[in-house]
Symmetry: C2
Subunit: 325 residues, 2 copies
């Protein structure tokens, strides 16, 4: 079983999500409309709508509101990518040129704002629980901004601790995973204990997902169209480096951190730090920790009744470790 099977299982509702995305983003401003259609055609993994739909299915069944919440979750994800591209100065995303590279960084900000507001509109259109859904996603948006700001702050001081790191990646990635499943559970009127189980699942899955992203920044993954070494170039201290730092005496660790702090002035120092991570098995240790989060995610699902959706959620968690999708 692979990720395409989950998408096949959800083909019907995912089709509805796609139709809703397209309808929501329609604009009579030609430049905006063309850009939206081009972004939509790039597709992407659609992992967040899948989470919403699987959570709804696991709690009783997908309804029209599940589709609306799934679409909102994908809109918010893409809005944050559009804003992230400005934050990261990214020229490519999913192996394709970004809006920033094609148009300009202003356009990327504005189009991100547009997608964000269309997400709110989707939530407002819900038959029930509009306000609670808006509350869920508003928390995520606040987390996202705080997480990115904490990351900027830590990157300039090079004093990221493990606690900071987990907060940053929870805020950047896991919080939206959590809102995605919670909105699905909400649409299906899930009881409290299933909702809590799904939240635990999503938090652990999201953290594992982001750790894998950070591992790929060291270990590479050309098929993802993602360049390597970006984090370090921006002085971001992620789990592979934290694991390596934990395995040496404090003084040596401080020296490496000081080196990271000089990378923006002396980019050639990045190679030294990468060697340090390799020598102390940073990537393997990070991979092991990621495995723990995945196990925990699957464990959280035990609270849920046995359904096909529950199996897919468990499989989805196991795929995250491989991320060939």
């Amino acid at each position: 079983m692979d990720y395409s099977q989950i998408k096949a299982f959800l083909a019907g509702p995912l089709e509805e999500v796609s139709a809703l995305l397209e309808a929501s983003l329609k604009s009579d401003i030609a430049l905006l409309d063309a850009t939206n259609l081009s972004l939509l055609s790039q597709g992407g993994k659609r992992i967040r709508p899948c989470l919403t739909l699987l959570a709804a299915g696991a709690c009783g069944g997908v309804v029209a509101d599940s589709v609306r919440f799934a679409a909102a979750s994908e809109l918010i994800h893409n809005a944050t990518l559009l804003h992230d591209d400005v934050v990261d100065g990214a020229a490519t995303r999913r192996g394709k040129p970004t809006v920033m590279a094609l148009l300009s960084s202003p356009a990327s900000v504005l189009i991100g704002d547009f997608w964000l507001v269309k997400a709110i509109r989707c939530l407002l259109e819900a038959d029930r629980y509009s306000e609670r859904a808006i509350r869920l996603f508003a928390k995520t948006l606040s987390d996202l901004a705080e997480g990115e700001m904490l990351q900027l702050q830590k990157a300039s001081a090079c004093d990221t601790t493990r606690e900071d790191y987990i907060r940053i990646i929870y805020s950047k990635t896991a919080s939206l995973f959590e809102a995605s499943v919670l909105s699905g559970a909400l649409s299906a009127d899930a009881p409290e204990e299933w909702t809590a189980a799904l939240a635990g699942y999503a938090r652990n899955l999201g953290i594992a997902f982001q750790i894998q992203d950070d591992i790929l920044d060291y270990a590479g993954g050309a098929d993802l169209g993602k360049p390597v070494g970006i984090d370090l170039r921006e002085q971001k201290i992620t789990l592979p480096l934290l694991c390596a730092l934990d395995s040496v005496p404090e003084e040596a660790a401080s020296a490496v951190r000081a080196k990271v702090g000089r990378i923006s002035d002396e980019p050639e120092l990045a190679a030294d730090v990468q060697r340090f991570v390799r020598e102390h098995d940073g990537v393997d240790k990070a991979r092991a920790e990621m495995g723990n989060y995945i196990d925990e995610a699957v464990f959280c699902l035990e609270e849920l009744p046995q359904t096909e959706e529950k199996s897919y959620l468990a499989n989805l968690a196991r795929f995250v470790g491989d991320r060939t999708f």
Copy 2:
């Protein structure tokens, strides 16, 4: 009477708005918190919260929700300024360095997102009509993004018509003025006809306000800390130029438009276009048109009962023509 008298009249509720802004933006991320406090301390005119509070007062009285909606309107305004600074590459705003200049354009995007989501939280906290208020401001946010994208599109083709121009400035400025008064009216349970009158007032006022902004870009206004000639440098065709273009034969107008289209490559051409605007009294003609919008704004208020707030709204409209505040 001047603008400070309106602020004095509203001192109590404006104080509550300020307190709510500060509480809403509180964050334990030091970099974010410090930036928020510094932005708040710059103050600004607070014209949008004044509109919300005056509209509520004119329709029966300011309640706790009026303050929440007023704060949301100020948060959204500042969020869009933060995003605009990235769009415009602005280094100063209100005569002070922008977040972009102090931190980075990424930070400006993220902090803008943070303010935006805090606006949504303020609306969610309302005792009544949360959803309707969110709907009002969501429309504005969508207008804002569409308006800016239309402006980008038109700036590259240099084919802005009067109709485009009015749509752009409605979307950029008047739409939020409209949402500000409408949310105030909503908080006071205003009857339909008062609400419609206030919407008409705000649309006309917002358009006049933006025309005045565009006039200042030609005529200068050093005390506003606003540099001159920015619009033209970005190939934006605004009312003073449109008025001048209307006063010459079509062929001559096309030649000037073509010249505008080359400004990003040959910045020295801007001086030619400025001279053209002067020679054809573009600024005076634009000022006369702005006067019509202000008259119309004041006329819309006739539907409202005679209150102190109504007089302040009328005075506010008349101040816009001078904009020494």
